[in-house]
Amino acid sequence: MRNTTELSSHRLLKSNKNRKDSELKGNIIVKSSAIIIITLTIALTVFLSIKGLQSFIKNGINPWDFITGTNWNPTSETPSFGSFNFIFGSFAVTMLSALIAAPLGIGGAIFMTQIAPKWGNKLLRPVIELLVGIPSVVYGFIGLSVLVPFIRNHVGGLGFSLLSGTIVLAIMILPTVTSISTDALNALPKNLREGAYALGATRWQTIKKVLIPAALPSLLTAIVLGMARAFGEALAVQMVIGNVSDFPNSITDTAATLTTIITLNIGHTTYGSIENNTLWSLGLILLVMSFIFILIIRFLSSRRKI
Protein backbone atom coordinates (compact mmCIF):
# COMPACT_ATOMS: atom_id res chain seq x y z
CA MET A 1 0.00 0.00 0.00
CA ARG A 2 1.24 3.47 -0.84
CA ASN A 3 0.54 5.81 1.98
CA THR A 4 3.42 8.25 1.86
CA THR A 5 1.92 11.46 0.63
CA GLU A 6 1.09 13.33 3.78
CA LEU A 7 4.08 12.65 5.99
CA SER A 8 4.84 15.84 7.89
CA SER A 9 8.14 14.80 9.32
CA HIS A 10 10.72 12.59 7.77
CA ARG A 11 14.49 12.64 7.85
CA LEU A 12 14.57 13.54 4.17
CA LEU A 13 12.14 16.46 4.48
CA LYS A 14 13.36 20.02 4.95
CA SER A 15 12.76 21.25 8.46
CA ASN A 16 14.09 24.01 10.63
CA LYS A 17 15.46 21.45 13.04
CA ASN A 18 17.73 20.01 10.39
CA ARG A 19 19.18 23.34 9.42
CA LYS A 20 22.27 23.78 11.50
CA ASP A 21 22.87 27.00 13.37
CA SER A 22 26.21 27.50 11.68
CA GLU A 23 24.54 27.24 8.30
CA LEU A 24 22.18 30.04 9.26
CA LYS A 25 24.96 32.18 10.69
CA GLY A 26 27.08 31.85 7.57
CA ASN A 27 24.12 32.76 5.44
CA ILE A 28 23.44 35.91 7.44
CA ILE A 29 27.08 37.05 7.43
CA VAL A 30 27.52 36.58 3.71
CA LYS A 31 24.23 38.17 2.76
CA SER A 32 24.61 41.18 5.04
CA SER A 33 28.13 41.82 3.74
CA ALA A 34 26.77 41.81 0.22
CA ILE A 35 23.96 44.20 1.16
CA ILE A 36 26.37 46.60 2.92
CA ILE A 37 28.72 46.68 -0.08
CA ILE A 38 25.91 47.31 -2.55
CA THR A 39 24.33 49.99 -0.35
CA LEU A 40 27.67 51.75 0.15
CA THR A 41 28.41 51.82 -3.55
CA ILE A 42 24.99 53.15 -4.46
CA ALA A 43 25.00 55.68 -1.60
CA LEU A 44 28.42 56.96 -2.60
CA THR A 45 27.42 57.35 -6.22
CA VAL A 46 24.15 59.09 -5.35
CA PHE A 47 25.81 61.38 -2.81
CA LEU A 48 28.62 62.37 -5.16
CA SER A 49 26.16 62.91 -8.00
CA ILE A 50 23.98 65.20 -5.87
CA LYS A 51 26.94 67.15 -4.54
CA GLY A 52 28.63 67.28 -7.93
CA LEU A 53 25.56 68.55 -9.72
CA GLN A 54 24.98 71.36 -7.18
CA SER A 55 27.29 73.78 -8.96
CA PHE A 56 25.35 73.35 -12.18
CA ILE A 57 21.84 73.38 -10.67
CA LYS A 58 22.18 75.77 -7.73
CA ASN A 59 25.04 77.98 -8.81
CA GLY A 60 24.02 78.00 -12.46
CA ILE A 61 27.40 77.15 -13.97
CA ASN A 62 27.09 75.94 -17.52
CA PRO A 63 28.29 72.28 -17.51
CA TRP A 64 29.76 72.67 -21.01
CA ASP A 65 31.75 75.75 -19.99
CA PHE A 66 32.82 73.92 -16.87
CA ILE A 67 34.31 71.04 -18.86
CA THR A 68 35.73 72.99 -21.78
CA GLY A 69 36.71 76.28 -20.14
CA THR A 70 40.41 76.82 -19.60
CA ASN A 71 40.24 79.58 -16.99
CA TRP A 72 40.05 78.43 -13.36
CA ASN A 73 39.80 81.39 -11.04
CA PRO A 74 37.28 80.71 -8.29
CA THR A 75 38.37 83.46 -5.90
CA SER A 76 38.39 86.54 -8.14
CA GLU A 77 35.70 89.24 -8.30
CA THR A 78 34.22 87.56 -11.36
CA PRO A 79 35.01 83.93 -10.67
CA SER A 80 35.39 81.54 -13.58
CA PHE A 81 35.31 77.77 -13.42
CA GLY A 82 36.85 76.16 -16.43
CA SER A 83 38.31 72.76 -15.54
CA PHE A 84 39.59 71.68 -18.96
CA ASN A 85 43.23 72.13 -17.95
CA PHE A 86 42.81 69.71 -15.04
CA ILE A 87 40.94 67.16 -17.13
CA PHE A 88 43.69 67.45 -19.70
CA GLY A 89 46.33 67.14 -16.99
CA SER A 90 44.73 63.99 -15.61
CA PHE A 91 44.51 62.38 -19.03
CA ALA A 92 48.01 63.50 -19.99
CA VAL A 93 49.75 62.00 -16.96
CA THR A 94 47.59 58.85 -17.22
CA MET A 95 48.28 58.20 -20.90
CA LEU A 96 51.95 59.11 -20.74
CA SER A 97 52.57 56.99 -17.66
CA ALA A 98 50.74 54.06 -19.28
CA LEU A 99 52.90 54.55 -22.35
CA ILE A 100 55.98 54.08 -20.19
CA ALA A 101 54.64 51.41 -17.85
CA ALA A 102 52.91 49.16 -20.41
CA PRO A 103 55.93 48.06 -22.44
CA LEU A 104 58.11 47.81 -19.35
CA GLY A 105 55.48 45.90 -17.37
CA ILE A 106 54.58 43.47 -20.13
CA GLY A 107 58.22 43.03 -21.03
CA GLY A 108 59.00 42.26 -17.40
CA ALA A 109 56.12 39.81 -17.24
CA ILE A 110 57.38 38.01 -20.36
CA PHE A 111 60.85 37.85 -18.86
CA MET A 112 59.53 36.42 -15.61
CA THR A 113 57.22 33.83 -17.15
CA GLN A 114 59.02 32.79 -20.33
CA ILE A 115 62.69 33.64 -20.21
CA ALA A 116 63.80 33.19 -16.62
CA PRO A 117 60.85 31.61 -14.81
CA LYS A 118 63.08 30.19 -12.11
CA TRP A 119 64.51 33.28 -10.48
CA GLY A 120 61.79 35.43 -12.03
CA ASN A 121 59.22 33.75 -9.84
CA LYS A 122 61.47 33.39 -6.83
CA LEU A 123 63.01 36.86 -6.70
CA LEU A 124 61.47 39.33 -9.11
CA ARG A 125 57.85 38.47 -8.41
CA PRO A 126 57.96 39.08 -4.62
CA VAL A 127 59.90 42.29 -5.17
CA ILE A 128 57.29 43.59 -7.56
CA GLU A 129 54.46 42.58 -5.28
CA LEU A 130 56.22 44.46 -2.50
CA LEU A 131 56.34 47.58 -4.67
CA VAL A 132 52.54 47.52 -4.98
CA GLY A 133 52.31 47.99 -1.24
CA ILE A 134 54.54 51.06 -0.93
CA PRO A 135 52.39 54.06 0.06
CA SER A 136 52.02 56.72 -2.60
CA VAL A 137 53.42 59.41 -0.29
CA VAL A 138 56.75 57.60 -0.41
CA TYR A 139 56.74 57.63 -4.20
CA GLY A 140 55.84 61.32 -4.08
CA PHE A 141 58.59 62.09 -1.61
CA ILE A 142 61.23 60.30 -3.66
CA GLY A 143 59.95 62.12 -6.74
CA LEU A 144 60.17 65.43 -4.93
CA SER A 145 63.65 64.94 -3.56
CA VAL A 146 65.29 63.10 -6.48
CA LEU A 147 63.30 63.48 -9.67
CA VAL A 148 62.29 67.15 -9.45
CA PRO A 149 65.84 68.47 -8.91
CA PHE A 150 67.14 66.10 -11.59
CA ILE A 151 64.70 67.39 -14.18
CA ARG A 152 65.33 70.99 -13.13
CA ASN A 153 69.10 70.54 -13.61
CA HIS A 154 69.20 68.29 -16.64
CA VAL A 155 66.02 68.76 -18.67
CA GLY A 156 64.89 72.25 -17.85
CA GLY A 157 62.01 74.13 -16.28
CA LEU A 158 61.17 74.23 -12.61
CA GLY A 159 61.40 70.50 -12.21
CA PHE A 160 57.82 70.45 -10.98
CA SER A 161 56.20 69.34 -14.20
CA LEU A 162 53.97 67.05 -16.21
CA LEU A 163 57.08 64.98 -16.85
CA SER A 164 57.79 64.47 -13.14
CA GLY A 165 54.16 63.50 -12.53
CA THR A 166 54.27 61.08 -15.44
CA ILE A 167 57.45 59.37 -14.29
CA VAL A 168 56.32 59.04 -10.68
CA LEU A 169 53.00 57.58 -11.83
CA ALA A 170 54.68 55.24 -14.30
CA ILE A 171 56.83 53.84 -11.50
CA MET A 172 53.78 53.55 -9.27
CA ILE A 173 51.65 51.63 -11.76
CA LEU A 174 54.48 49.51 -13.12
CA PRO A 175 54.11 46.81 -10.44
CA THR A 176 50.34 46.66 -11.02
CA VAL A 177 50.79 46.22 -14.77
CA THR A 178 53.61 43.72 -14.31
CA SER A 179 51.93 41.49 -11.78
CA ILE A 180 48.60 41.32 -13.62
CA SER A 181 50.42 40.65 -16.91
CA THR A 182 52.43 37.91 -15.21
CA ASP A 183 49.23 36.28 -13.99
CA ALA A 184 47.75 36.55 -17.49
CA LEU A 185 50.74 34.88 -19.11
CA ASN A 186 50.91 32.20 -16.44
CA ALA A 187 47.23 31.45 -16.94
CA LEU A 188 47.74 30.54 -20.58
CA PRO A 189 47.39 26.81 -21.21
CA LYS A 190 50.84 25.22 -21.18
CA ASN A 191 50.14 23.22 -24.30
CA LEU A 192 49.87 26.41 -26.35
CA ARG A 193 53.56 27.00 -25.86
CA GLU A 194 54.41 23.36 -26.53
CA GLY A 195 52.32 23.47 -29.69
CA ALA A 196 54.23 26.44 -31.03
CA TYR A 197 57.61 24.94 -30.16
CA ALA A 198 56.65 21.63 -31.76
CA LEU A 199 55.95 23.50 -34.99
CA GLY A 200 59.48 24.78 -35.05
CA ALA A 201 58.77 28.24 -33.68
CA THR A 202 61.65 30.03 -32.00
CA ARG A 203 61.19 31.37 -28.50
CA TRP A 204 60.62 34.89 -29.75
CA GLN A 205 58.13 33.72 -32.43
CA THR A 206 56.27 31.76 -29.76
CA ILE A 207 56.07 34.82 -27.52
CA LYS A 208 55.18 37.29 -30.25
CA LYS A 209 52.85 35.26 -32.45
CA VAL A 210 51.19 32.91 -29.99
CA LEU A 211 51.47 33.91 -26.35
CA ILE A 212 50.97 37.69 -26.55
CA PRO A 213 47.97 37.46 -28.92
CA ALA A 214 46.41 34.76 -26.72
CA ALA A 215 46.86 36.84 -23.57
CA LEU A 216 46.08 40.18 -25.19
CA PRO A 217 42.69 40.85 -23.55
CA SER A 218 44.19 40.25 -20.10
CA LEU A 219 47.26 42.31 -20.93
CA LEU A 220 45.04 45.21 -21.98
CA THR A 221 43.09 44.78 -18.76
CA ALA A 222 46.38 45.09 -16.87
CA ILE A 223 47.15 48.35 -18.66
CA VAL A 224 43.69 49.79 -18.08
CA LEU A 225 43.82 48.86 -14.38
CA GLY A 226 47.16 50.64 -14.18
CA MET A 227 45.65 53.65 -15.92
CA ALA A 228 42.72 53.69 -13.53
CA ARG A 229 45.17 53.78 -10.66
CA ALA A 230 47.17 56.57 -12.29
CA PHE A 231 44.02 58.57 -13.00
CA GLY A 232 42.88 58.41 -9.40
CA GLU A 233 46.24 59.00 -7.75
CA ALA A 234 46.39 62.36 -5.96
CA LEU A 235 49.11 62.62 -3.36
CA ALA A 236 52.22 61.54 -5.23
CA VAL A 237 51.28 63.59 -8.28
CA GLN A 238 50.46 66.64 -6.23
CA MET A 239 53.93 66.59 -4.71
CA VAL A 240 55.74 66.83 -8.05
CA ILE A 241 53.45 68.32 -10.68
CA GLY A 242 53.45 71.96 -9.54
CA ASN A 243 49.66 72.45 -9.31
CA VAL A 244 49.34 75.45 -11.57
CA SER A 245 46.00 75.90 -13.27
CA ASP A 246 47.49 77.17 -16.52
CA PHE A 247 47.55 74.92 -19.56
CA PRO A 248 50.94 73.17 -19.76
CA ASN A 249 52.71 74.21 -22.96
CA SER A 250 55.39 71.56 -22.77
CA ILE A 251 56.09 68.37 -20.92
CA THR A 252 58.45 70.20 -18.56
CA ASP A 253 55.77 72.78 -17.75
CA THR A 254 53.91 72.77 -14.47
CA ALA A 255 50.36 71.43 -14.55
CA ALA A 256 47.53 70.20 -12.35
CA THR A 257 45.15 67.27 -12.38
CA LEU A 258 41.58 66.80 -11.16
CA THR A 259 42.78 64.98 -8.08
CA THR A 260 45.49 67.46 -7.12
CA ILE A 261 43.09 70.43 -7.33
CA ILE A 262 40.58 68.64 -5.12
CA THR A 263 43.07 67.62 -2.45
CA LEU A 264 44.68 71.06 -2.41
CA ASN A 265 41.48 73.09 -2.12
CA ILE A 266 38.81 71.00 -0.42
CA GLY A 267 40.24 71.83 3.01
CA HIS A 268 40.07 75.61 2.80
CA THR A 269 36.79 76.20 0.98
CA THR A 270 33.56 76.76 2.83
CA TYR A 271 31.11 73.87 2.68
CA GLY A 272 28.25 74.80 0.39
CA SER A 273 30.11 77.64 -1.30
CA ILE A 274 30.29 77.78 -5.07
CA GLU A 275 34.00 76.97 -5.02
CA ASN A 276 33.42 73.98 -2.78
CA ASN A 277 30.63 72.78 -5.04
CA THR A 278 32.81 72.93 -8.13
CA LEU A 279 35.37 70.70 -6.40
CA TRP A 280 32.60 68.16 -5.94
CA SER A 281 31.88 68.47 -9.63
CA LEU A 282 35.51 67.61 -10.35
CA GLY A 283 35.04 64.58 -8.11
CA LEU A 284 32.00 63.58 -10.12
CA ILE A 285 34.07 63.71 -13.30
CA LEU A 286 36.59 61.38 -11.64
CA LEU A 287 33.82 58.98 -10.67
CA VAL A 288 32.40 58.94 -14.18
CA MET A 289 35.87 58.30 -15.56
CA SER A 290 36.47 55.38 -13.22
CA PHE A 291 33.14 53.90 -14.29
CA ILE A 292 34.33 54.19 -17.86
CA PHE A 293 37.60 52.46 -16.95
CA ILE A 294 35.63 49.64 -15.33
CA LEU A 295 33.42 49.31 -18.39
CA ILE A 296 36.51 49.06 -20.59
CA ILE A 297 37.96 46.37 -18.33
CA ARG A 298 34.67 44.46 -18.38
CA PHE A 299 34.55 44.66 -22.14
CA LEU A 300 38.13 43.50 -22.50
CA SER A 301 37.76 40.58 -20.11
CA SER A 302 34.56 39.38 -21.73
CA ARG A 303 36.40 39.16 -25.05
CA ARG A 304 38.75 36.64 -23.48
CA LYS A 305 36.19 33.85 -23.70
CA ILE A 306 35.95 33.83 -27.47
Binding site: L199, A201, K209
Partner: protein, 274 residues
Protein backbone atom coordinates in the same frame (compact mmCIF):
# COMPACT_ATOMS: atom_id res chain seq x y z
CA UNK B 1 59.71 -5.18 -53.67
CA UNK B 2 58.38 -8.56 -54.61
CA UNK B 3 59.15 -11.65 -52.72
CA UNK B 4 58.79 -14.95 -54.37
CA UNK B 5 58.16 -17.77 -52.06
CA UNK B 6 59.36 -21.00 -53.49
CA UNK B 7 59.26 -24.45 -52.09
CA UNK B 8 62.99 -24.46 -51.62
CA UNK B 9 62.69 -21.75 -49.03
CA UNK B 10 60.49 -23.78 -46.79
CA UNK B 11 63.36 -24.96 -44.71
CA UNK B 12 63.68 -21.39 -43.38
CA UNK B 13 61.02 -20.82 -40.82
CA UNK B 14 59.60 -17.63 -42.32
CA UNK B 15 61.40 -16.40 -45.39
CA UNK B 16 59.19 -13.40 -46.12
CA UNK B 17 59.81 -11.96 -42.71
CA UNK B 18 63.55 -12.38 -42.85
CA UNK B 19 63.67 -10.81 -46.26
CA UNK B 20 61.63 -7.85 -45.09
CA UNK B 21 63.83 -7.10 -42.14
CA UNK B 22 66.82 -6.79 -44.40
CA UNK B 23 65.18 -4.58 -46.99
CA UNK B 24 63.22 -2.21 -44.76
CA UNK B 25 64.42 1.35 -44.66
CA UNK B 26 64.87 2.94 -41.29
CA UNK B 27 64.35 6.60 -40.55
CA UNK B 28 65.58 6.65 -36.97
CA UNK B 29 68.23 4.63 -35.19
CA UNK B 30 68.10 4.85 -31.42
CA UNK B 31 71.29 3.76 -29.67
CA UNK B 32 71.73 3.41 -25.91
CA UNK B 33 69.28 6.17 -25.16
CA UNK B 34 69.06 7.19 -21.52
CA UNK B 35 66.86 10.02 -20.33
CA UNK B 36 66.98 11.58 -16.89
CA UNK B 37 64.81 14.09 -15.07
CA UNK B 38 67.25 15.34 -12.48
CA UNK B 39 68.02 12.23 -10.41
CA UNK B 40 65.17 10.27 -11.91
CA UNK B 41 66.27 7.79 -14.60
CA UNK B 42 63.21 7.77 -16.85
CA UNK B 43 64.34 5.85 -19.93
CA UNK B 44 66.91 3.03 -19.66
CA UNK B 45 69.30 2.16 -22.44
CA UNK B 46 66.80 2.01 -25.24
CA UNK B 47 67.91 0.54 -28.52
CA UNK B 48 65.51 0.52 -31.43
CA UNK B 49 65.15 1.25 -35.12
CA UNK B 50 62.13 3.07 -36.47
CA UNK B 51 60.91 2.05 -39.91
CA UNK B 52 60.33 4.56 -42.64
CA UNK B 53 56.75 5.06 -43.86
CA UNK B 54 55.38 2.80 -41.19
CA UNK B 55 53.45 3.32 -37.98
CA UNK B 56 55.30 2.45 -34.80
CA UNK B 57 53.20 2.25 -31.65
CA UNK B 58 54.63 2.78 -28.17
CA UNK B 59 52.58 1.14 -25.45
CA UNK B 60 52.97 0.64 -21.73
CA UNK B 61 51.48 1.76 -18.42
CA UNK B 62 51.53 5.42 -17.37
CA UNK B 63 54.96 6.61 -16.31
CA UNK B 64 56.81 3.89 -18.22
CA UNK B 65 58.84 6.41 -20.20
CA UNK B 66 57.15 6.09 -23.59
CA UNK B 67 56.08 9.74 -23.79
CA UNK B 68 59.46 10.87 -22.51
CA UNK B 69 61.07 8.80 -25.24
CA UNK B 70 58.73 10.28 -27.85
CA UNK B 71 59.41 13.84 -26.73
CA UNK B 72 63.15 13.30 -26.94
CA UNK B 73 62.86 12.61 -30.68
CA UNK B 74 62.07 16.24 -31.48
CA UNK B 75 63.83 17.61 -28.42
CA UNK B 76 60.63 18.78 -26.72
CA UNK B 77 62.25 17.72 -23.45
CA UNK B 78 64.54 20.73 -23.83
CA UNK B 79 61.69 22.86 -22.45
CA UNK B 80 61.64 20.85 -19.23
CA UNK B 81 64.24 22.12 -16.77
CA UNK B 82 66.79 19.50 -15.69
CA UNK B 83 65.75 16.89 -18.26
CA UNK B 84 68.75 15.41 -20.05
CA UNK B 85 69.26 12.72 -22.65
CA UNK B 86 72.33 10.58 -23.29
CA UNK B 87 73.03 8.20 -26.15
CA UNK B 88 72.19 8.63 -29.80
CA UNK B 89 69.17 9.11 -31.99
CA UNK B 90 70.42 9.01 -35.56
CA UNK B 91 68.28 10.81 -38.08
CA UNK B 92 69.50 11.39 -41.61
CA UNK B 93 73.04 10.60 -40.57
CA UNK B 94 73.27 12.88 -37.57
CA UNK B 95 72.78 12.41 -33.85
CA UNK B 96 69.92 14.76 -33.06
CA UNK B 97 70.75 14.75 -29.35
CA UNK B 98 73.92 16.76 -30.02
CA UNK B 99 74.11 20.08 -28.23
CA UNK B 100 74.69 22.02 -31.43
CA UNK B 101 71.54 20.76 -33.14
CA UNK B 102 69.23 23.55 -34.34
CA UNK B 103 66.11 22.33 -32.55
CA UNK B 104 63.94 24.83 -34.41
CA UNK B 105 64.95 23.31 -37.75
CA UNK B 106 64.69 19.80 -36.31
CA UNK B 107 61.11 20.30 -35.15
CA UNK B 108 60.09 21.34 -38.65
CA UNK B 109 61.20 17.94 -39.89
CA UNK B 110 60.00 15.95 -36.89
CA UNK B 111 56.55 17.26 -36.06
CA UNK B 112 54.52 16.49 -32.97
CA UNK B 113 50.83 16.35 -32.08
CA UNK B 114 49.80 16.32 -28.43
CA UNK B 115 47.26 14.49 -26.35
CA UNK B 116 45.03 17.51 -25.81
CA UNK B 117 44.21 19.39 -29.00
CA UNK B 118 46.04 22.71 -28.74
CA UNK B 119 44.98 24.97 -31.60
CA UNK B 120 46.03 28.58 -31.24
CA UNK B 121 43.15 30.89 -30.26
CA UNK B 122 42.96 32.20 -33.82
CA UNK B 123 41.15 31.34 -37.03
CA UNK B 124 41.48 27.95 -38.68
CA UNK B 125 43.41 29.55 -41.54
CA UNK B 126 45.79 31.36 -39.22
CA UNK B 127 46.47 28.19 -37.27
CA UNK B 128 48.00 26.76 -40.41
CA UNK B 129 49.67 29.88 -41.73
CA UNK B 130 51.27 30.59 -38.36
CA UNK B 131 53.19 27.37 -38.62
CA UNK B 132 54.22 28.25 -42.17
CA UNK B 133 55.21 31.77 -41.23
CA UNK B 134 57.43 30.34 -38.51
CA UNK B 135 59.12 28.56 -41.39
CA UNK B 136 59.40 31.79 -43.37
CA UNK B 137 56.75 31.21 -46.07
CA UNK B 138 54.86 34.47 -46.71
CA UNK B 139 53.56 34.31 -50.28
CA UNK B 140 49.75 34.45 -50.07
CA UNK B 141 49.08 32.14 -53.02
CA UNK B 142 51.53 29.60 -51.71
CA UNK B 143 50.02 29.82 -48.21
CA UNK B 144 46.49 29.27 -49.55
CA UNK B 145 47.65 26.30 -51.53
CA UNK B 146 49.41 24.66 -48.58
CA UNK B 147 46.45 25.37 -46.29
CA UNK B 148 44.07 23.55 -48.61
CA UNK B 149 46.48 20.72 -49.27
CA UNK B 150 47.18 20.15 -45.58
CA UNK B 151 43.53 20.32 -44.56
CA UNK B 152 42.67 17.84 -47.30
CA UNK B 153 45.40 15.50 -46.12
CA UNK B 154 44.08 15.76 -42.59
CA UNK B 155 40.57 14.94 -43.88
CA UNK B 156 39.26 18.23 -42.55
CA UNK B 157 38.93 20.36 -45.69
CA UNK B 158 35.32 19.48 -46.49
CA UNK B 159 34.21 20.23 -42.96
CA UNK B 160 35.88 23.64 -42.66
CA UNK B 161 36.37 25.03 -46.18
CA UNK B 162 33.47 27.47 -45.73
CA UNK B 163 34.67 28.82 -42.42
CA UNK B 164 38.41 29.04 -42.69
CA UNK B 165 38.42 32.45 -41.06
CA UNK B 166 36.37 31.47 -38.02
CA UNK B 167 37.89 30.69 -34.66
CA UNK B 168 39.58 27.31 -34.43
CA UNK B 169 38.25 27.01 -30.88
CA UNK B 170 34.70 26.67 -32.25
CA UNK B 171 35.62 23.30 -33.79
CA UNK B 172 34.83 20.05 -32.02
CA UNK B 173 37.63 18.29 -30.14
CA UNK B 174 38.13 15.79 -32.96
CA UNK B 175 38.24 18.52 -35.58
CA UNK B 176 40.67 20.52 -33.45
CA UNK B 177 42.95 17.51 -33.26
CA UNK B 178 42.83 17.01 -37.01
CA UNK B 179 43.58 20.72 -37.38
CA UNK B 180 46.64 20.21 -35.18
CA UNK B 181 47.69 17.33 -37.43
CA UNK B 182 47.08 19.50 -40.52
CA UNK B 183 49.15 22.28 -38.98
CA UNK B 184 52.00 19.87 -38.38
CA UNK B 185 51.96 18.26 -41.82
CA UNK B 186 51.76 21.70 -43.47
CA UNK B 187 55.46 21.92 -42.68
CA UNK B 188 56.03 18.68 -44.61
CA UNK B 189 57.91 16.88 -41.88
CA UNK B 190 59.35 13.44 -42.45
CA UNK B 191 58.46 12.08 -39.03
CA UNK B 192 55.20 12.59 -37.18
CA UNK B 193 55.15 12.05 -33.42
CA UNK B 194 51.68 11.52 -31.98
CA UNK B 195 51.34 11.60 -28.20
CA UNK B 196 48.06 9.84 -27.42
CA UNK B 197 46.38 11.83 -30.18
CA UNK B 198 42.88 10.51 -29.66
CA UNK B 199 42.69 9.70 -25.96
CA UNK B 200 40.73 12.90 -25.30
CA UNK B 201 38.26 12.25 -28.12
CA UNK B 202 34.98 10.42 -28.58
CA UNK B 203 34.94 7.07 -30.43
CA UNK B 204 33.82 8.52 -33.77
CA UNK B 205 36.53 11.20 -33.79
CA UNK B 206 38.93 8.52 -32.67
CA UNK B 207 38.02 6.35 -35.65
CA UNK B 208 38.60 9.31 -37.99
CA UNK B 209 42.02 9.94 -36.50
CA UNK B 210 42.94 6.29 -36.90
CA UNK B 211 41.81 6.29 -40.51
CA UNK B 212 43.89 9.41 -41.03
CA UNK B 213 46.97 7.81 -39.50
CA UNK B 214 46.71 4.90 -41.91
CA UNK B 215 46.50 7.31 -44.84
CA UNK B 216 49.36 9.50 -43.64
CA UNK B 217 51.63 6.48 -43.38
CA UNK B 218 52.22 6.69 -47.14
CA UNK B 219 54.05 9.98 -46.78
CA UNK B 220 55.30 10.03 -43.23
CA UNK B 221 56.98 7.85 -40.69
CA UNK B 222 54.68 7.89 -37.70
CA UNK B 223 55.39 7.12 -34.07
CA UNK B 224 52.34 7.00 -31.84
CA UNK B 225 52.07 6.70 -28.08
CA UNK B 226 48.80 5.12 -27.09
CA UNK B 227 47.07 3.66 -24.06
CA UNK B 228 44.56 1.99 -26.28
CA UNK B 229 45.63 -1.58 -27.16
CA UNK B 230 43.04 -1.82 -29.90
CA UNK B 231 44.31 1.36 -31.44
CA UNK B 232 47.87 0.06 -31.40
CA UNK B 233 46.81 -3.19 -33.02
CA UNK B 234 44.67 -1.44 -35.64
CA UNK B 235 47.01 1.27 -36.83
CA UNK B 236 50.56 0.18 -36.22
CA UNK B 237 53.02 -1.99 -38.10
CA UNK B 238 55.40 -2.36 -35.22
CA UNK B 239 54.81 -2.07 -31.50
CA UNK B 240 57.22 -1.33 -28.68
CA UNK B 241 56.27 -2.20 -25.14
CA UNK B 242 57.82 -0.07 -22.41
CA UNK B 243 57.79 -0.86 -18.72
CA UNK B 244 59.44 1.17 -15.94
CA UNK B 245 61.76 2.88 -18.41
CA UNK B 246 62.85 -0.32 -20.16
CA UNK B 247 62.02 -1.28 -23.70
CA UNK B 248 60.72 -4.76 -22.92
CA UNK B 249 59.79 -5.91 -26.37
CA UNK B 250 59.78 -4.46 -29.86
CA UNK B 251 58.41 -6.40 -32.77
CA UNK B 252 55.83 -6.55 -35.50
CA UNK B 253 52.45 -5.57 -34.10
CA UNK B 254 50.84 -8.83 -35.21
CA UNK B 255 53.44 -10.76 -33.27
CA UNK B 256 53.25 -8.60 -30.14
CA UNK B 257 49.51 -9.04 -29.96
CA UNK B 258 49.35 -12.72 -30.81
CA UNK B 259 52.45 -14.38 -29.43
CA UNK B 260 54.69 -11.95 -27.56
CA UNK B 261 58.07 -13.33 -26.53
CA UNK B 262 58.10 -11.71 -23.11
CA UNK B 263 55.84 -12.75 -20.27
CA UNK B 264 55.46 -9.12 -19.15
CA UNK B 265 54.17 -8.09 -22.57
CA UNK B 266 51.63 -10.83 -22.57
CA UNK B 267 50.43 -9.89 -19.10
CA UNK B 268 50.12 -6.24 -20.02
CA UNK B 269 48.30 -6.86 -23.27
CA UNK B 270 45.86 -9.22 -21.63
CA UNK B 271 45.14 -6.58 -19.00
CA UNK B 272 46.72 -8.25 -16.01
CA UNK B 273 48.41 -5.03 -14.91
CA UNK B 274 48.89 -1.48 -16.07
Amino acid sequence: MTITITDTNQSVSNPTEDQRVVDKEYILHVENLNIYYGENWAVHNVQMEIEKNAVTALIGPSGCGKSTFLRSINRMNDIIPNARAEGEILYDGINILRDDIDVVALRKEIGMVFQKPNPFPKSIYENLTHALKFAGIRNKGKLDQIVEESLRKAALWDEVKDRLHQSALALSGGQQQRLCIARTIALKPSVLLLDEPSSALDPISNAKIEELILQLKKDYSIIIVTHNMHQASRVSDKTAFFLNGDLVEYDRTSKIFTKPSEKKTEQYISGQFG
